[in-house]
């Protein structure tokens, strides 16, 4: 502000962060769990963007995937089941200077947390939101979730699930003020990284549904996608996901999709025979809640406390009166 850039003058202060700087506890996910790949991608985006760990927060709910903040060496909030988003919103509105990331499971986001999810899309807070969709409740040992494919056998659906699954990208695209929707698979690191990177740079609520393998409970769920690369439809565009040449050799089902086209985004999101991967929709012009409601003045906790006390004093009863 006003040309007073302390960083320009005192650059001896500037740091270079490496991957290790973002690595927290050793992950305790099952061997081969897809959450690992998402963790690596998240750490990489922090490193590439050189986000100061003390200015970065990862917020989660409850679930296997929600252990995420423990494994990041940034600030974190391992919240309540389904309540990652309200917590993240609280952080963002008070500390708009922080980089806020949210990690949720499919149960967390699309089941118990649905109400928060819908409204968070409409609020359009500036944050990066990752939905780890393994199609199952992992932490509680295999119960069907809203995204479980039809016929999924689980502890709650021993004869196979009987409802068509909910498609989180379709739902998100249907909510007012939606500003960024993407779909990724965790086992193609390059694309996962590119999508998270663009989500991070998006000014608004950037929602990514990440297909995540749970080798422990649903080992075969993504076999059709993994064994037949053509089943993935890669959406690319100059404003969308970027694909490297070597990758194009493996994944040949590539289509151009301009993420500013909402109707086409809906069309791809609703696709069932192929799994579209890439940035479905992006609109930078939706105002963000934190932008609209940014406080004009600093309010320190001290000032708040004083104001509250003043308010309480009005109702205070003096025992001696």
């Amino acid at each position: 502000m006003f040309g007073v850039s302390i960083n320009n003058i005192i650059d001896i202060d500037q740091k270079n962060y490496s991957m290790e700087d973002y690595q927290g506890d050793t992950p305790r996910w099952c061997p081969g769990c897809g959450d690992n790949g998402i963790l690596t991608a998240a750490q990489r985006i922090c490193r590439e963007e050189q986000l100061p760990p003390e200015k970065t927060v990862f917020v989660s709910g409850i679930g296997c995937s929600s252990r995420f903040p423990h494994y990041m060496n940034t600030y974190g909030f391992h919240g309540l089941h389904g309540r990652a988003l309200p917590i993240a919103e609280g952080i963002k509105i008070r500390r708009p200077d922080l980089h806020v990331f949210v990690n949720m499971g499919d149960g967390d986001c699309t089941s118990i947390g649905t109400a928060h999810w819908i409204h968070a899309i409409r609020y359009n807070f500036n944050m990066t939101v990752m939905l780890h969709d393994n199609g199952i409740y992992g932490l509680t040992k295999k119960q069907a979730s809203p995204t479980s494919p039809l016929g999924t056998k689980s502890n709650t659906t021993p004869k196979g699930s009987f409802l068509n699954p909910l498609n989180p990208t379709v739902t998100t695209l249907g909510v007012e003020n939606v500003s960024f929707v993407a779909q990724a698979v965790e086992w193609i690191p390059e694309l996962l990284y590119d999508i998270i990177r663009q989500a991070y740079h998006h000014k608004g609520f950037a929602f990514i549904r990440i297909m995540q393998r749970c080798p422990h409970y649903t080992p075969a769920m993504f076999d059709p996608l993994m064994s037949t690369p053509e089943n993935l439809m890669l959406l690319t565009h100059k404003d969308g996901m970027q694909i490297s040449d070597p990758l194009k050799k493996v994944y040949k089902n590539i289509v151009e999709h301009d993420p500013s086209e909402k109707l086409k985004a809906n069309y791809y999101a609703e696709m069932t025979d192929k799994m579209p991967i890439g940035i479905l929709y992006k609109n930078e012009n939706i105002p963000t809640y934190d932008g609209l409601r940014a406080p004009e003045r600093t309010v320190t906790p001290q000032m708040k406390e004083e104001a509250l006390n003043q308010e309480f004093d009005k109702f205070g009863i003096n025992p001696r009166d």
Binding site: M1, G3, Q43, W187, R297
Partner: protein, 849 residues
């Protein structure tokens, strides 16, 4: 003065004023007529504007001298300044005919008095505009609007009279007083004025206490400059308002938190206090204190840091206070006015220190708030903190220092220093009131003709080239307000030369008119030079706001009453007209009666445009008028004519600077024209010659060709075998076919990837024996690393690669390949042929290679 060209009218406020004045009169007439006998809204007798002077020629008695005697005497005066005949009028009692309409000046609406409204966006505004806006925004119907307008015009007159006696008035007081006077003296019908009264009192409520009314008076320029500076600086500093508040709040919070966690709040007493009365006997506060102290109390902040934060808070608070209100800023800026270069420099130095301290404090504050201040690193840095550490943007917050003086009062030493100051990068804004225009004390006789030191100061400063310069008559203040703002805003020194027309006691012409006249007569041209604008003279320099800037002298129109009819006449306004009002030049003007006019008299400007040094038959005159409007021709001496020529030369050179009649351009254009004409002629001659030669050659060549073609055609095989006609297409066979070429390119494109793939396959074949991982595809699942962390490791992107194939068995490799969820580990061939169970493993490894 009326100007003939409507386009030019806007350029001079004087003409505006004149239009306004006649408008006003018409308006008043109309309204008085409209209300008939109702006197309620008529202007009071003592306020009624006097009749406008009607210019006319007065018949006089026949002269006692013969025509020859008259002519001889006129010529003598022209050449020597001495006349043997006693003049019938004194030039002191006359005014230039063009300025006659401005005689009853107080009734003429012009830019003054000005309103300074520090709280509004257009902070300097003519009172008349303000009042007109009130009418426009009143939302009344046309009829009511006229009532209101008339009333406001009367109020304006009262306000003008009030302000004329003061250089500055608090507007609210002046207004309230004017309103009170008005209602007291108006004996109007109650119903008629009730609604107006409510309106007026509504206006009164809107006026805030800070507005000031500035009359056209000595020193008004300083008041106005200060107001413009205040407004500008306030705006510049406004963003700091929130920022400083934030910084201080954050810093205070650090200190507060430090105190809270310092243990002070965990003493038994403090704890007991927090509990209040009830329940206080049930707790042992000593042990409570021990427990909380052990578990909560942290060290308080180091004393150094507290000290540093406190001192930063003090500095920031000081600045916060300065910019927090208009009054504080004004008080602060008021100190930044000097009347000598020495003082200005002193102020500059201390101001610079202040500014450095301010930005230093901001930087420390930011570091402190982020807890990034490290003493060993930052102490020396801030120890060393100087102006070099400030950015351009920081510098732009330097409050402009005004160095204000009157030209006559400046000391010789200061004159020399002034150039240094002007050439410097210090934001010292030099404001010079020119009071020696053609009126300087002289060293010796010859300098009698000098226009004065300060009158040429502006033009001299142009040669510095990096300094902002604005020269303007005070009457045009509003006209050049944006230029004044630019000058104040520039981060360097700037020069403003202003002429206010108060240079001498002038009874005939109001100072406002004199000031404008100085500019119109080219005695004190209006120009400005802004080095921050563009990159050439054309972009920097402008005289466009000067009246009729393209001509030598501006021209006006007068109306002359002849019997019952009015005729108009065009007159130039020259330096001569301007100087008629000055005591020291009065010897150069001789008014002559109508009976002594003759054919050798010609207007001054016409005379000086002729070769008057060599042909001296004519005698130049200026038209002037007395209080009754009777016009006289006033003969001018040759010396005066030379002064006028000098002024015109100076003006013409200024015009050239702004690109008007630029002599280089004219010369160059002439040269180019000559050159081009010559070239064209030469080319024409050459072309003709060439054409002729070619014609001759081609006739010869063509003949030969035709003959040989006929011969070849007759002799060709085709001609012989096929016969005539088809031979014409023969040469086309040699043109290459375009289509196949394109196809070839496309084929190449198609082939390329396959070829590349083949190449890569070959490469892969080569390294088939060594184990490897498709690292970019690794999902960091840990499986391989968990199996053997010597053999497998992660790269800088946390993706696996084979760190050391020899660090484990072939079995390890195959197992990892089996486990790898994305199947990207390729075990290759065993390195150790003695490893047990190889056959099985090699078979298994095939799947992954």
């Amino acid at each position: 003065m009326k100007t003939p060209d409507p386009k030019e009218i806007d350029e001079t406020k004087v003409s505006d004023s004149e239009i306004d004045s006649s408008d006003l009169l018409k308006e008043l007439d109309k309204i008085a007529h409209h209300f008939g006998n109702d006197t309620s809204l008529e202007i009071h007798e003592q306020e009624a504007p006097q009749e406008q002077i009607k210019l006319h020629f007065e018949e006089t008695e026949k002269s006692e001298y013969s025509l020859d005697e008259i002519k001889h005497d006129h010529l003598k005066f022209h050449l020597t300044g001495h006349s043997e005949h006693t003049p019938d009028a004194n030039v002191k009692d006359l005014r230039p005919a063009l300025s006659a309409p401005f005689t009853n000046f107080e009734y003429i609406r012009h830019d003054f008095p000005l309103l300074i409204k520090t709280s509004s966006d257009n902070c300097i505004e003519p009172l008349k505009d303000y009042l007109d806006n009130l009418v426009e925004q009143s939302g009344l119907n046309t009829d009511e609007q006229r009532n209101l307008k008339l009333l406001l015009l009367k109020l304006e007159l009262i306000l003008k009279k009030e302000s004329a006696n003061h250089s500055a008035l608090v507007f609210k007081q002046a207004w309230d007083l004017a309103v009170k006077n008005f209602w007291q003296s108006s004996n109007s019908h109650k119903q008629k004025t009730d609604s107006l009264k409510t309106l007026i009192s509504g206006f009164s409520d809107q006026i805030n206490d800070h507005s000031e009314l500035i009359s056209y008076s000595k020193g008004a320029e300083l008041t106005l400059f200060k107001a413009a500076r205040l407004k500008q600086w306030q705006k510049k500093m406004a963003p700091f308002f929130g920022e400083l508040e934030d910084l201080v709040e954050h810093l205070k919070n650090i200190l507060k938190v430090s105190k809270k966690t310092s243990g002070e709040s965990y003493t038994p007493d403090a704890l007991q206090n927090t509990m209040g009365q009830p329940g206080s006997d049930e707790l042992d506060f000593n042990s409570f204190s021990e427990i909380v102290t052990q578990s909560f109390a942290k060290e308080s902040l180091p004393a150094n840091r507290i000290e540093r934060i406190k001192s930063v808070i003090t500095i920031l608070n000081r600045w916060f206070k300065i910019i927090s209100s208009m009054e504080q800023s004004e008080k602060f800026l008021d100190r930044l006015v000097a009347d000598s270069t020495t003082k200005a420099l002193k102020i500059y130095k201390s101001q610079k220190e202040d500014l450095i301290e301010f930005f230093k404090a901001i930087r420390i504050a930011k570091l402190e708030i982020e807890h990034r201040y490290e003493e060993e690193k930052h102490d020396p840095f801030f120890e060393d903190f100087s102006s070099l550490y400030l950015s351009e943007e920081d510098w732009s917050h330097f409050p402009p220092i005004i160095l204000y003086f009157k030209a006559r009062e400046i000391k010789s030493a200061d004159k020399a220093d002034l150039i240094d100051v002007l050439a410097s990068k210090m934001p010292i804004k030099v404001l010079v009131t020119v009071d020696d225009l053609y009126n300087a004390s002289t060293f010796f006789d010859e300098s009698f003709y000098s226009p004065g030191w300060s009158a040429v100061l502006g033009k001299m400063a142009l040669s510095i080239n990096t300094t902002f310069v604005l020269q303007f008559p005070l009457s045009h203040m509003i006209n050049v307000l944006s230029e004044i703002e630019q000058g104040l805003q520039s981060d360097r020194a700037a020069l403003f030369c202003v002429f206010d027309g108060f240079d001498q006691e002038q009874e005939m012409v109001a100072p406002f008119v004199r000031s404008a006249a100085a500019s119109e007569s080219r005695a004190f041209p209006l120009f400005y030079y802004n080095p921050n604008q563009g990159n050439s003279w054309a972009a920097h320099f402008s005289i466009a706001k000067s009246s009729q800037h393209k001509s030598d002298w501006p021209q006006g129109e007068i109306e002359i009453l002849e019997g019952d009819s009015v005729k108009t006449e065009k007159l130039d306004f020259s330096l001569g007209d301007f100087l008629t009002g000055l005591e020291r030049y009065k010897e150069h003007f001789l008014p002559i009666e109508r009976s002594e006019w003759h054919g050798d008299l010609i207007p001054l400007t016409e005379y000086i445009h002729s070769d008057f040094e060599n042909i001296n038959k004519s005698i130049p005159y200026i038209l002037m008028a007395n209080d009754e409007g009777a016009m006289q021709k006033v003969i001018v001496t040759k010396t005066m004519c030379r002064l006028c020529v000098d002024a015109q030369i100076r003006w013409n050179r200024i015009q050239e600077l702004s690109g008007i009649n630029n002599s280089h351009v004219i010369e160059q254009v002439e040269k180019e024209r000559e050159k081009m004409t010559k070239e064209m002629q030469e080319k024409l001659v050459q072309a003709e010659a060439k054409h002729k030669a070619e014609m001759e050659q081609s006739v010869e060549g063509l003949t030969n060709e035709i003959i040989s073609n006929i011969a070849a055609g007759l002799l060709s095989d085709e001609m012989i075998s096929i016969g005539s006609g088809t031979g014409i297409s023969a040469p086309q066979a040699t043109i290459p076919k375009a289509a196949p070429k394109q196809e070839a390119i496309q084929d190449e494109v198609k082939e390329k990837p396959e070829a590349l793939e083949a190449a890569t396959e070959e490469e892969e074949d080569l390294s088939f024996n060594d184990p490897y991982i498709d690292t970019p595809l690794c999902t960091s699942c840990n499986d391989c690393c968990n199996l053997n962390d010597q053999m497998f490791a992660y790269d800088e992107n946390k993706q696996a690669y084979i760190k050391d194939a020899k660090a484990g068995t072939f079995k390890d490799l195959v197992t990892a390949a089996e486990k790898c969820p994305v199947k990207i580990i390729h075990p290759g061939k065993p390195l150790n042929p003695d490893e047990p169970g190889l056959d099985e493993l090699i078979k298994e490894a095939e799947k992954y290679n």
